[in-house]
């Protein structure tokens, strides 16, 4: 095998792995060819380029620029053509040589130049990291993988950049695997590594030493982060067996070391139990159940188009907040920009408006606060109230005196009228009053037809009214005179001139 054929074999093997032995053999073969073609300017120029590349490969080995082996291969192929093609004219040989020189120079420039990273590259990386911060979904993870893999290929030959990207890639992949179970600090760590990467890219005047120092700090942080992971895995596996005695550091203990109270000394807890009238039991089958798809149908407005809201007139703080969230989702927008936008809309100066940041100074609220809140929240719906009907009635009567209170309902008016009418026994003898009583009772019966207790009471009142109405007048008079006699025996007791129908009904139950 001649020297040229051997050279071709070695270049082919360098494609797979660059070893020191191969390079030494390669350099020896170049020297042999140099001696063989001494005086042939074209060949010696080819050999000069090959020697130079071999020195570079000997130094860089597998970390050599990705284009260096293809360039070497091309030089060897063209050299073979120049040496072995008897029909090749001198001009054609010179042309081939100049083409190879051009390729060689391009490679040299590539090796010498600093990594070229465009604003788009940085923005793309920033966007995919922010999108992972925003939401860990299959789409955001796929974008992250695509962008980082491309950048890793692009920066394969630039150790510092490549290492930063490798860390970013590893953390991102870990978050992708863990999704919601990823430690809360993993995304902030990812962002901080990216910020350092961005810093070295955007600061061309930074020295190699400074870059290396930043990188080393991040490498150490990355190892610390990795060390934490197995511990968390262990904790997760043991989760099912954990008892309440297992020691967890209390929340905020890493912030405030002092003032930690023992469990028994912690501020009083408002418990929730059946003793307070709160039912803990599950709903029974008798509870009303909405039919299938009822909730779907009830929403006649349809789903709210969130993106449309961006262009609508802002009606509430919720709309402004939504805008800020959407702006944050736009690639290239940082959260602080979204926040600034929110600040601008909220801080429009308005006459008489003051902002206070509440500070919990353990102030006792003034009584008016408690009273107002009690009033607001204690307006229970009637069916929830466990107060008796009479109590409810009297309360409503009291409320009716308050001009600022809610308007009374029609039932209440009827009830008040009925109560007034049957207060006097004479009304039972008056036809129009009797008609009014019966009319009111039937109106209330109709209104309360779903409430058996109330309708039953109404029926009792109606029956008793009929009984009393049909009583001979003399009985009524006797009753009256008996009452008067009794009253005479106790002169100091305030006298009641008339006994109402309700009083008589009561008397019937108590006697």
């Amino acid at each position: 095998m001649n020297s040229l054929a051997e050279l071709k074999n070695i270049v082919a093997s360098l494609n797979e792995n660059i070893t020191g032995d191969d390079i030494t053999t390669f350099q020896k073969l170049i020297s042999q060819l140099g001696q063989q073609y001494e005086g042939n300017t074209n060949v010696t120029t080819f050999l000069k380029m090959m020697r130079s590349l071999s020195k570079y490969l000997a130094f860089k080995k597998n970390n050599a620029h990705a284009d260096s082996i293809p360039a070497l291969n091309s030089i060897v192929m063209q050299l073979e053509k120049v040496i072995n093609d008897p029909d090749l004219k001198e001009d054609d040989a010179s042309q081939i040589l100049s083409d190879e020189i051009e390729k060689y120079k391009t490679l040299k420039n590539k090796i010498a130049s600093k990594p070229s990273i465009t604003d788009n590259d940085i923005n793309d990386l920033k966007a995919v990291i922010l999108s992972v911060d925003w939401e860990i979904s299959d789409v955001t993870l796929l974008n992250f993988e695509t962008v980082t893999t491309n950048l890793l290929k692009q920066f394969k030959n630039y150790k510092i950049h490549y290492t930063f990207l490798k860390i970013i890639h590893s953390i991102g992949r870990y978050i992708g695997r863990q999704k919601a179970n990823a430690p809360t600090d993993s995304i902030s760590f990812l962002r901080s590594v990216f910020e350092n990467f961005e810093l070295i890219i955007l600061t061309p005047e930074m020295t190699f030493k400074e870059k290396k120092q930043i990188l080393e700090t991040d490498i150490n942080r990355f190892y610390e982060f990795k060390q934490k992971i197995p511990r968390q895995k262990k904790t997760t596996n043991l989760k099912d067996d954990t008892s309440e005695d297992e020691s967890f550091s209390p929340a905020l203990s890493h912030i405030k070391k002092t003032g930690m109270a023992a469990a028994d000394e912690v501020v009083p807890l408002t418990t929730l139990g059946e003793s307070e009238g709160f039912p803990l039991e599950e709903k029974t089958d008798s509870d009303k159940m909405a039919p299938a798809l009822a909730d779907k149908k009830s929403s006649s407005m349809g789903p709210r188009d969130i993106m449309d809201d961006l262009f609508s007139v802002k009606e509430s703080p919720a709309d402004e907040l939504l805008d800020a969230i959407h702006l944050q989702d736009i690639p290239g927008q940082s959260p602080s920009q979204a926040l600034n936008m929110l600040n601008q809309t909220r801080n429009i100066p308005s006459d008489g408006v003051k902002n206070f940041t509440p500070q919990n100074m353990d102030n006792e609220p003034i009584p008016e606060i408690g009273n107002r809140l009690d009033e607001f929240f204690n307006l229970e719906a009637p069916e929830d109230s466990d107060e008796s009907f009479e109590e409810s009635l009297s309360k409503r009567e009291d409320k009716n005196d308050d001009s600022g209170g809610p308007l009374p309902d029609p039932d209440f008016d009827i009830l008040t009228r009925l109560k007034t009418t049957i207060k006097t026994p004479e009304s039972l003898q008056d036809k129009s009053s009797l008609m009014s009583i019966n009319q009111d009772i039937s109106l209330l019966e109709k209104s309360w037809q779903n409430d058996p207790e109330k309708t039953c009471l109404l029926q009792i009142i109606s029956s008793l009214t009929n009984v009393l109405k049909n009583q001979p007048e003399t009985v009524l008079q006797e009753n009256k005179s008996t009452t008067n006699e009794a009253d005479e025996n106790i002169p100091d007791t305030p006298q009641e001139e008339t006994v109402g129908v309700l009083g008589k009904i009561k008397g019937m139950f108590t006697s």
Binding site: D133, E135, A180, T184, I187, E244, F248, S249, P250, A251, L252, S253, H254, I255, K256, G259, M260, A262, A263, D264, V266, V267, P268, L269, T270, T271, L272, P279, L280, R304, I306, S316, P317, L321, L322, I325, Q328, P335, A338, L339, L342, D351, G352, V353, K354, F356, T357, P358, Q359, N360, N363, E364, P365, I366, E368, I369, R372, L373, F376, F377
Partner: protein, 201 residues
Amino acid sequence: MALINVKTKEVQIKIVYYGPGRGGKTTNLEYINEKYRDQIKTEMVSLKTQDDRTLFFDFLPFDVGQIKGFDITIQLYTVPGQVKYNATRRLVLRGVDGIVFVADVQKEQRKKNIDSLNQLYENLETYNLDLFNMPVVMQYNKIDLKRSDIPILSSKTMQKDLNSLLQAPAFEASALKGGNVIPTLKKSISMTLASIQDQLF
């Protein structure tokens, strides 16, 4: 921060329900909205994902009436609880006046409760707010699960885990059934208003 318009005598306070995912924050607001629909008179804004989880936040504004001549408006917000939505949580916390921390009493949620409270501290820090100086109310939700086979943490453990340093008023609750939902809210509003009453009344 509480907005106070001294000219029109209006006060607006923002209370945020914070806590781990699926802890019952939205259920709290839904109960309040349902129970006091007549008094509240406004619409609850709720944006959920397909699996019924909070995507951005819930928003429920309402007026509680006048206190010493000032009209008081309360704005209730919830944050999305899932770990991945921290950016949104930070945004929702902007201008917060009071916090209701809704913790889940299920045993398996123990670490998430602690992590969430730690993260709340960090998120408030970005607005230069100190959780220890804020009106905070703790709510230990899903206490009704003690009737089922699901293992739950005792309130003593909840207090130790979450409240030994904060020492905030705490309520056991069942948001699904409304238990202690209103007392929690009343306490939060009351504490928040008390914290600005010196400037106000």
